[in-house]
């Protein structure tokens, strides 16, 4: 018996993984940068 595969399921899964991981990377890098720069400015002001 052959397994029925909907090719679009694989396409959507791949796009969700790639776009999700890219957005998570950008958001994490941006947040880490903001936190580090804020801390540096606070240390400078003290």
């Amino acid at each position: 018996m052959r397994e029925a595969l909907d090719q679009w399921d694989f396409v959507i899964a791949a796009y969700v993984v790639a776009i999700g991981a890219t957005l998570a990377l950008i958001a994490w890098a941006w947040h880490a940068m903001r936190v580090a720069e804020k801390r540096r400015d606070e240390v400078k002001r003290r």
């Binding site: 595969l5 090719q7 679009w8 694989f10 396409v11 899964a13 791949a14 796009y15 993984v17 790639a18 776009i19 991981a21 890219t22 998570a24 990377l25 950008i26 890098a29 941006w30 880490a32 940068m33 936190v35 580090a36 720069e37 801390r39 540096r40 240390v43 400078k44």
Partner: protein, 251 residues
């Protein structure tokens, strides 16, 4: 190029380059992915799954390109002792690892409907998995060196030695039998039809700009952390100095 090895000059450049890379990268990536998902026709052999090409190829390129960047920065650190070279290599590591993981995940998802399996231990897939582990090792080593105040030479040597894996990944489909197809894009030649090639090149450019933006943000974060730590250390030394100079009190 050497002029920008100065952190102050680099920060003034990065402050306007970061949003530019992220904005242009987002626009190009969205355009390429919409083009690839909606306007490209299904492939004769792979059907609809050919659309995975537009995310799989850019992520593979960035995974390998990222480690090449680490190797170049490591060379600059070992030869010219550029102050920014170690920061650049550390800044590339996490984005490079993320895109290598995306490449492996999307390749596995693509493999199931086209090869009938999620994974095979062949040269291309295994060498790409080795690259993921190399990134993890580099990140751990660089973090440990930075935390313990150690030399950044050890991660740089690791970065150079790990670069041996890049030509192995590139030539793996030529050297060994593989389910993975041989290279479709080589210098000046393409085996890919123009209908797929144009959105693919736009996707590669778009993801590369996003990668560049992420690397700049990582570098800015690392520089800010180092500047804050240096200022706190200086202040602690300044506070200790008068206490050491004062005569010991008491009866």
């Amino acid at each position: 190029m050497h002029g920008y090895a100065n952190p102050t000059r680099f920060l003034s450049l990065a402050s306007w380059l970061t949003p530019l890379l992220l904005g242009a990268g987002a626009l190009l990536t969205v355009a390429a992915l919409v083009w690839g998902l909606i306007y490209v026709s299904p492939d004769r052999l792979m059907g609809e799954t050919v659309r995975i090409l537009f995310i799989h190829v850019p992520s593979a390129w960035l995974g390998m390109g990222g480690w090449t960047g680490i190797a170049i920065a490591s060379t600059a650190l070992l030869i010219w002792k550029h102050p920014l070279a170690a920061i650049a290599a550390r800044g590339i590591a996490v984005p490079g690892m993320v895109f290598t993981a995306i490449c492996l995940a999307t390749g596995s998802i693509w493999g199931r409907p086209t090869w009938g399996t999620w994974w095979v231990w062949d040269g291309r897939l295994t060498s790409m998995l080795v690259l993921l582990f190399l990134y993890a090792g580099y990140i751990a080593l660089a973090q440990a060196s930075a935390r313990d105040g150690g030399s950044s030479k050890l991660p740089a040597i690791f970065g150079l030695v790990g670069a041996i894996n890049i030509p192995i990944i590139n030539r793996s489909v030529v050297w060994w039998n593989s389910l993975h197809q041989p290279p479709s894009l080589t210098a000046g030649k393409s085996a890919i039809d123009g209908e797929f090639l144009v959105p693919l090149l736009i996707a590669v450019l778009g993801f590369s700009l996003l990668f560049g933006g992420a690397v700049l943000m990582r570098m800015r974060a690392l520089i800010a952390e180092m500047q804050a730590e240096a200022r706190l250390r200086r202040r602690a030394l300044d506070d200790e100095a008068p206490m050491a100079a004062a005569p010991a009190g008491g009866a």
